[in-house]
């Protein structure tokens, strides 16, 4: 039997969706990026986390990109450990470069090389994402 689903998180008004600052002010929709490389530094800081990723350049050199995530507090509360994401772990990031043209991007989607998300809570914490079941990672 199907019931009316009166509203979902997708139906929230804009008042709920303000992130700490508008990413629209910070990132340029004309500069899409796909970054792949090892994590070289992680800053678990507020208001937003920054994951530093080393990326190969076309000319054979390397450069480090800073990828902006959300606040670390929710993840810490779900049982995230300091080494849940390891230095050297290769990640794939898609997002948009910052308007100031530095090597920074929003972490629109940050995954492991096989496409799996990371940081999902360990089971039994009662955290909302425990329901994700087989997608969980330690």
């Amino acid at each position: 039997m199907k019931y009316l689903i009166p509203f979902t998180i997708a139906a929230f008004g804009a008042w709920r969706l303000y992130a700490h600052h508008a990413f629209g002010a910070e990132f340029d929709p004309n500069l899409p990026v796909l970054l792949k490389g090892p994590v070289v530094r992680i800053e678990w800081i507020n208001p937003h986390t920054w994951i530093h990723v080393e990326v190969a350049k076309k000319d054979g050199g390397k450069e480090v990109w800073m990828v902006e995530g959300g606040t670390p507090n929710s993840l810490l509360r779900r049982g995230l450990k300091r080494d849940s994401l390891k230095i050297g772990q290769v990640v794939v990031v898609d997002g948009y470069q910052s308007k100031d043209r530095t090597t920074r991007a929003n972490g629109r989607d940050v995954t492991l090389p096989d496409g799996q998300k990371f940081f999902l809570g360990s089971s039994g914490t009662g955290a909302p994402y425990d329901a994700a079941g087989k997608d969980q990672r330690k």
Binding site: A10, F23, P47, M66, G70, R77, D94
Partner: protein, 345 residues
Amino acid sequence: MLTLLTLLLAAAPPAATTGPRTADGHPDLSGMYDIATLTPLNRPGNVGDRMSLTEAEAKALAQATAALLAKNNAASDPNRKAPPSGGDGSAGPAGNVGGYNTLWVDTGTGAFKIDGQYRTSIVIEPANGRIPALTPEARAKGMALAKYNRPNRGDAFWITENLNPGPYDDPELRPTAERCLLAFGSSAGPPALPVMYNNLKQIVQTKDHVMILNEMVHDIRIVRLNSKHEPPEIRRWLGDSIGRWEGDTLVVDTTNFNDQPGLGNADRNLHVIERFTRIDDKTLRYKFTVEDPTVWTKPWTGEMVWPATDARIFEYACHEGNYSFAGILRGARILEADAIAKKKP
């Protein structure tokens, strides 16, 4: 004797609440609370004027939300390309570049339940569950700002359209949350409203003061009990809060806001009355009335629960890690230079 009894009965507060009490006999509201909920502030259009959901609807909502989160947290295409140039079509203030993975978001797992009902909105008065209309004055103010509100095209539209001042001309023109001054979405309040993440509150209570610590931006409200408001020239970001006990209910009255309270649209005339009452050992009822005669055509009232949690509040050193703000201003200077170069004949 009879007269004394009558007097005592007349003065008797409503039925005493259960739960811990302080040495001076008042309910002890101290503790940690997590106010994340899927119930929105305003009642969504598709539930009409209904104040509550049926059990089945509440269950369907929770299930649909869990399914949406699971879908968003499922694996992505490992061979995906960069998102489309010109933007990914996402709406809202994130504006066309998206945000970050859903796993950072924490908006609760269901609608909140109060008096046995799953509520469709936090607003309960007006009876339609929606914040009343703005005054003509507030509407005009909003219209004046609307010219800055547009899709993110990665351009300095304020240069090409000769808007003065431009929205990035001065750091102080940027939103207070972007500047780490106040939590966004009235997370700290008053009134305290649920937002996208960091919905934890901590209450610390003494005989003379009640402190409410908000996880977001580490905003701290200090309520002076049985006190008087500061003179009107003393203005604060979170207003000036005084409190008193009405029976087992803590009543907090807040005025003396500056020109930019956390609550959207509100101005310095904002006046908020909050009522905290223990429902049971694990839950507070949080009811508030908002009035601001220069902004809303009538007062409005909201109500929700504050469920206790075992979770802890983590540090929120917003300024310390706010790399974004400098980047936003620096980005605006670059886009301006591009626009000026294009303008030249």
